[in-house]
């Protein structure tokens, strides 16, 4: 796993938008751990070893609601089960699929945003690139948690609120570039957006389960309308 400086740099550059989004979200998480009577070390440790947005918020919410230990862990597993599919998908795009530290690194860093940014890179992924991308995102998440705990949300309320859009803007931007290459991408994304919205808003399905169903259903839909050649298979 030789380190290529140019690739690391490109990863850091691509990771910068994720850094922004994670930092502002993690400020809120840090504050939540403090108000939930976690110590500074416990709050920051959570972000350091878990590195998962929705899973960590879910853990805190259930903890505050007085849920049982096992039910918290099982719920966190379910909201994270989508990573099985994301990691499987991303593992097919690695330039060198054999390196053990490289695979551990990618596994550790397979969060929604890293997964999407890396997937749309449109080429085989080197571990140097992935290291830059993951490290930048991770730095935003962990430093945001620490600062959020220590200083609370020092940003003005309107900025704090508006910052929520950062991560979604990143997803929308990736979708915009993809839509330029062909309308099918837009169709598949619209399909999954529709199913997810109906499940959550109309049927009040939990976000973890709803996301999983929408992702699988629209993937199948996509497989029917895309040709093998379009997805890079033969």
């Amino acid at each position: 796993m030789a380190i290529n400086g140019k690739e690391v740099k490109e990863g850091i550059k691509d990771g910068f938008p994720i850094f922004l989004g994670y930092f502002t979200t993690a400020l809120a998480f840090g504050l939540l751990t403090r108000t939930s009577s976690f110590t500074f070390v416990e709050g920051v440790l959570t972000s350091i070893i878990t590195f998962a947005g929705s899973g960590q918020f879910l853990m805190m919410n259930l903890y505050n609601a007085g849920s049982m230990f096992l039910s918290i862990v099982v719920s966190v597993f379910f909201i994270n089960s989508r990573y099985i599919f994301m990691a499987s998908s991303l593992s097919q795009r690695l330039a060198d699929p054999r390196s053990i530290p490289g695979r551990l690194l990618c596994g550790f860093g397979t969060v929604d945003e890293v997964f999407t940014v890396a997937s749309f890179k449109g080429r085989k992924l080197s571990y140097s690139y992935m290291a830059g991308l993951i490290f930048t995102s991770y730095l935003g998440w962990t430093s945001g948690t620490a600062i959020g705990y220590a200083g609370g949300t020092f940003l003005p309320e309107v900025v704090q609120k508006a910052a929520v859009i950062t991560v979604y803007a990143m997803f929308a931007s990736l979708l915009g570039s993809e839509a330029r290459r062909g309308a099918k991408a837009l169709l598949v994304a619209a399909f999954s957006a529709f199913i997810n919205s109906v499940l959550i808003l109309v049927f009040s399905v939990s976000t973890g389960v709803s996301f999983l169903i929408s992702m699988i259903a629209s993937t199948l839909f996509g497989a029917l309308i895309y040709t093998d050649k379009e997805v890079g298979l033969e």
Binding site: F69, M86, A162, A163, F171, A172, A189, G222
Partner: protein
């Protein structure tokens, strides 16, 4: 409840589904073509559900602020603007909506 045990357990159930597939990737590449095709399409399929409806519901009654941000970010990149520009414009649009049309 032991908080450290809770934190470590939640970290474990987060890391397992992320790490294990990377060590099954040679088996994954031998899966039927249709399944492999699905895996390649997962990113675009995930995008729609990653954006909607949470980009709107995160703003509660001011959902239109979220919608404005998502739409301008999409359009910026659709017309070949770089991602960072898309994000900056989205931040401006969302902030403006929050300020101009507060609840």
């Amino acid at each position: 409840m032991n908080k450290i045990l809770l934190i470590v357990s939640c970290a474990l159930v987060t890391m397992m589904p992320r790490i294990i597939p990377y060590f099954a990737s040679s088996a994954l590449s031998k899966l039927p073509k249709f399944i492999r095709k699905c895996m390649m399409l997962l990113p675009v399929a995930a995008l729609g559900a990653l954006i909607f409806p949470l980009a709107l519901t995160d703003f509660g009654p001011m959902w239109y602020a979220g919608l404005a941000g998502v739409v301008v970010a999409f359009l910026t990149s659709f017309f070949k603007g770089p991602m960072i520009l898309a994000i900056i414009i989205a931040l401006i649009a969302t902030t403006a909506m929050l300020l101009v049309f507060p609840m």
